[in-house]
């Protein structure tokens, strides 16, 4: 009773739709990057995180080594506690590594850049990164610039 051709075309339609979804997942979005290998957590305390968001990338020498997992306010120091999830395969990052918040391009989004230190010991789960540099907030930079310029003029 049911036309065979109908079933075939419907099958093709469903398959094409699923392929399109797959393309959107793998080729267009970052799903391919998301299947994070089990990593380890490190906390860094920043004075100001600017526009940093959960899931922003963490890079070392430009290579992506992890992502921001959580951002909390430290109620004692009033600084931001940023929890980084570093991929398990990058388990040889020295303990005196410095973390800074950078902006990708002039208007791009913010990410955390690590600069490797020289210690022989490596960061482990639960460690804290002490050397941090806060995000540059454009208004503050411009304000400082104008202020110093005004001082210089006098």
């Amino acid at each position: 009773m049911h036309n065979k051709n109908t079933e075939i075309t419907v099958g093709m339609f469903v398959a094409a739709g699923i392929v399109a979804l797959f393309i959107l997942a793998m080729k267009v979005s970052n799903l391919a990057d998301l299947n994070d290998e089990e990593g380890y957590r490190v906390v860094a305390e920043f004075e100001n995180i600017g526009g940093l968001k959960v899931r922003s990338p963490v890079t070392l020498a430009g290579v992506r080594v992890g992502r921001v997992e959580a951002i909390d306010l430290n109620s004692q120091t009033y600084n931001a506690d940023v929890t980084l999830n570093l991929y398990g395969s990058y388990n040889q990052i020295p303990t005196d590594t410095a973390a800074s918040i950078y902006t990708a391009g002039l208007l791009g989004e913010q990410y955390i850049g690590l600069e490797a230190g020289a210690e022989d010991e490596f960061l482990q789960d639960g460690d804290v990164i002490d050397l941090t540099q806060p995000a540059l907030v454009l208004e503050q930079v411009i304000g400082q610039f104008l202020f110093s310029k005004a001082e210089g003029d006098e």
Binding site: H2, T6, E7, T9, V10, M12, F13, V14, A16, G17, I18, A20, L21, I23, L24, A25, K27, V28, S29, N30, L31, A32, D33, L34, K53, R55, G105
Partner: protein, 260 residues
């Protein structure tokens, strides 16, 4: 004056009553869905007329929408020297908004109106009544399979639309305007998030598919059983679906992308 208020009141009451009937209708439809898995051939037939017959329209529209996005986006981005971000612009606008919304609007116009006309015609030629008297529940036999088919088709069509649109944007960006293809794809991949963007877009299109199919079937089922009534119901399907899609899109966008 009093007459105006009275007609407004009557309109309000009528609308409420229709809304109520619409929800009861939906309830009966949903009750018919589970047993469809035992008779999936009914759904397959409807997938053909609801889904497959819309594919060509969706693909071509998607291609052109993507190409236009590519051109317009390039012209704007080049002023900032950010034409490398064209891929991001194209993919985000398609995956988040245009894919679900435009394909749902096209779906309402193509498949929704056809569903309304078909059901309305079945009603006006007493086919639905005839089925009832043959002890076959039209809600289960006619309405539910079409509903499920619409629900399945919509996200697939939206995905096809988005994929095709991104391809169209890439065609324009890379082949016509000479943007580096590596930059196009990699920027896109970095900035398009699977959960936040793609999955939310898919959720949107499922919601739109649900609402559009519901409206189309209900309008057909509730149509005045004359050729004039069916014609008016078909128009109503397209208009109401468009309102519902755009209104819900705002609500969903606010829920999904509202907080940073």
């Amino acid at each position: 004056m009093i007459d105006t208020i009275r007609s407004l009141g009557r309109w309000g009451l009528d609308s409420f009553e229709r809304l109520g009937r619409g929800h009861i209708f939906l309830l009966h439809t949903l009750q018919g869905v589970p047993e469809l898995f035992l008779r999936f051939s009914l759904v397959i037939q409807q997938l053909f007329s609801v889904g497959v017959l819309s594919v060509l329209l969706i693909l071509i529209s998607g291609l052109f929408v993507g190409m236009v996005l590519g051109l317009q986006g390039y012209n704007t981005l080049v002023d900032f020297g950010a034409e490398e971000s064209l891929g991001v612009l194209v993919s985000l606008s398609l995956v988040r908004e245009l894919g679900p919304v435009v394909s749902a609007l096209l779906f309402a116009g193509r498949a929704g109106s056809a569903l309304t006309a078909e059901i309305g015609l079945m009603k006006s030629t007493e086919q639905l009544s005839g089925m009832e008297m043959m002890a076959v529940d039209p809600m289960r036999r006619v309405i539910a399979p079409r509903f499920l088919a619409g629900l399945i088709s919509m996200p697939l069509l939206a995905a096809l639309f988005s994929a095709m649109g991104i391809f169209g944007g890439f065609l324009v960006g890379h082949s016509l305007l000479g943007i580096d293809d590596g930059a196009f794809w990699s920027q896109m991949q970095v900035k398009t998030d699977w959960y936040d963007d793609v999955l939310n877009g898919v959720i949107k299109s499922i919601v739109f598919g649900f609402v559009c199919t519901w409206i189309a079937l209900f309008e057909g089922y509730d149509a005045t059983p004359t050729s004039e009534g069916v014609g008016r119901a078909t128009t109503r399907t397209v208009v109401h679906s468009a309102f519902a899609i755009l209104g819900l899109d705002f609500v969903l966008t606010a829920l999904m992308f509202g907080e940073g």
